[in-house]
């Protein structure tokens, strides 16, 4: 099977420290470590399981972002992916979910041959869950979102059976291949890096990551081992329509961003002493607030 996995490098918004915001109220990206979007790892695991089940399958990982987002490609290679594509270009900046899904769908078209496209349900920096379904729509494919587990695949008859979450329950659906599947964080966690693969791919780089100082070293490595060259595409490489990428291709605009300061209420502060806690309980009971 030919499997495409969508991955995103995201700021780790789960562990936001006090320095995550600048005094001006903007996001201090430098203070947040960049990580592999957690649910994309769940998607990668589903892909790796398919590869085990169907020997000879290949997994291609696609990411769009800054040049350093090639880090997630390396991470996926360490865990068992076969190839990676970094879509990076200045003109892609400022993209909302629609422009992002257009760009990624163009990259997937260029990769061409695929049976299944897997991605995380949503990314933790936006929590929108929109890019997966939008890619499906743009490629004219159906989709299964909120997937928990791929139960079976029948490549011959081009059928897949998937267990997914719905509000208040679960359902099992049968869908045709090819399709887009987005995977939940509650699905099986991704296996760790494989030490041999780390040795094999640790010098894998995308062109945009290489500096004049390191270019020669990497060129020599790639000459011997072509798989160390992570494919890098700009907007022109994927034949992207300038009207549908970056800011121009984004119908949504951020009008205002506000750092929230809670309005202080009249409040009473007390200690954890027995007297204070009992006093509070008695007050709440007397005023029939509880009880």
């Amino acid at each position: 099977m030919k499997i495409v996995v969508l991955a995103k490098q995201v700021p780790d918004t789960r562990n936001v420290g006090p320095d995550a915001m600048t005094p001006e109220g903007t996001v201090n990206r430098a203070a947040l470590p960049a990580v592999f979007n957690p649910e994309d790892l769940n998607a990668l695991e589903q892909a790796l399981r398919l590869k085990e089940q169907f020997p000879g399958s290949t997994i291609s990982v696609v990411t769009m972002g800054l040049p350093k987002s090639a880090e997630v490609i390396r991470e996926a290679l360490y865990r068992g992916a076969d190839a990676g594509y970094v879509v990076t270009d200045r003109c892609l900046g400022g993209a909302d979910t629609l422009a992002t899904s257009y760009t990624l769908s163009q990259a997937i078209r260029k990769i061409g041959d695929f049976d299944i496209i897997l991605g995380g349900r949503q990314a933790i920096d936006g929590d929108t869950a929109q890019v997966g379904p939008q890619i499906a729509e743009k490629l004219g494919l159906t989709q299964v979102t909120y997937a928990e587990e791929i139960l079976s695949v029948d490549p011959e008859n081009k059928k897949i059976v998937i267990k997914r979450h719905i509000d208040g329950g679960v359902e099992t659906v049968e869908a045709p291949l090819p399709l887009v599947v987005t995977v939940n964080g509650s699905a099986a966690p991704c296996r760790p890096r494989n030490a041999k693969r780390v040795m094999k791919y640790k010098n894998a780089t995308a062109a945009a990551e290489r500096t004049p100082a390191t270019a020669e070293k990497y060129a020599a490595l790639i000459a011997k081992k072509p798989f160390l060259d992570i494919t890098q595409w700009g907007a022109a490489d994927i034949d992207a329509d300038p009207a549908q990428i970056g800011k121009a291709g984004s119908p949504t605009n951020v009008k205002a961003v506000q750092n929230i300061v809670f309005k202080a209420k009249d409040s009473r502060t007390m200690t954890s002493s027995d007297a204070d806690v009992e006093g509070l309980i008695i007050e709440l009971l007397n005023e029939k607030i509880i009880g």
Binding site: V16, M21, L98, G169, V173, Q258, N259, L280
Partner: protein, 347 residues
Amino acid sequence: MNSVFVYCEIEGTTVADVSIELLTKGRKLANTLGVQLECICAGSGLEGVEKQVMKYGVDKVHVFDAEGLFPYTSNPHTALVVNLFKEEEPQICLMGATVIGRDLGPRVSSALFSGLTADCTELEIGDFEMTVGKGADGKPMKKHYEDQLLQIRPAFGGNIVATIVNPEHRPQMATVRSGVMKAEVLDENYKGEVIRHDVAKYVPETEYVVKVIDRHVEAAKNNLKGAPIIVAGGYGMGSKENFDMLFDLAKVIHAEVGASRAAVDAGFCAHDLQIGQTGVTVRPKVYIACGISGAIQHVAGMKESGIIISINNDENAPINAIADYIINGTVEEVVPKLIKYYKKNSK
């Protein structure tokens, strides 16, 4: 002309609470704009479905009733919404930020090239100016927009609140979580129009590609949305064992247990207990926040609580700013004392 639309989600033949809440919000937006409120009900066996929705002030109910439209699958519902919108050209479309709304909304927005904002916590109509490029003189060119949908949502892990607009594309689409907006009957006898569409004209046979082969829906295990008292734990609970103390406290004071996203992510409790922008929105009489720092995303889901009691050993925890009572102390120490003194004094 250019109505406000609500996509009504339907379980069996019952319109979901979240959709009813959006009808009330949609009615208010439509009033502000001086336009009609219309809704879409798509499923199987929907005779009389309009009785569930009309009283919230719906002027037109678009019914799509056919086998294969329930249970929901992505393609047929996308096709009927997209094809109806091509005819009706609504200016606003609201959907629940549910599994269905978050599956359908992006597909529709992609097909119509319209902006979609997920998980809004407030929706308003407003005017604004925006820079739309540079003029011949190289100076930024501003354009004035009127009567736009302002889509307000916490962003970036809840550290900021962003107002999103999509001035150049229609419909302006937004999803909203269950419980965020409040449902209010407008008029039990509200007279709207019912339009029963020929589904085959909107949904080609080829769209029925996904088969639901098994389905289990259970009634919610907890009653967080309707609970008068909620005890909620955050990352500051420290461990699953400590978190379990909250169930003891809840049992004693007849409360329901909730949690912040951090507590859920840390594995202290089940996902369905999550309160906040990406969980349940609650309005209890009393909210006892235990070891919850108070990220905006959490506060968005509980700020309407009557009385807020914060137990935290960090006196600068953001949640203390909206608390009525603040107990400076560790949860390990305070929670057992609450149980003890409630038992002692509640006779």
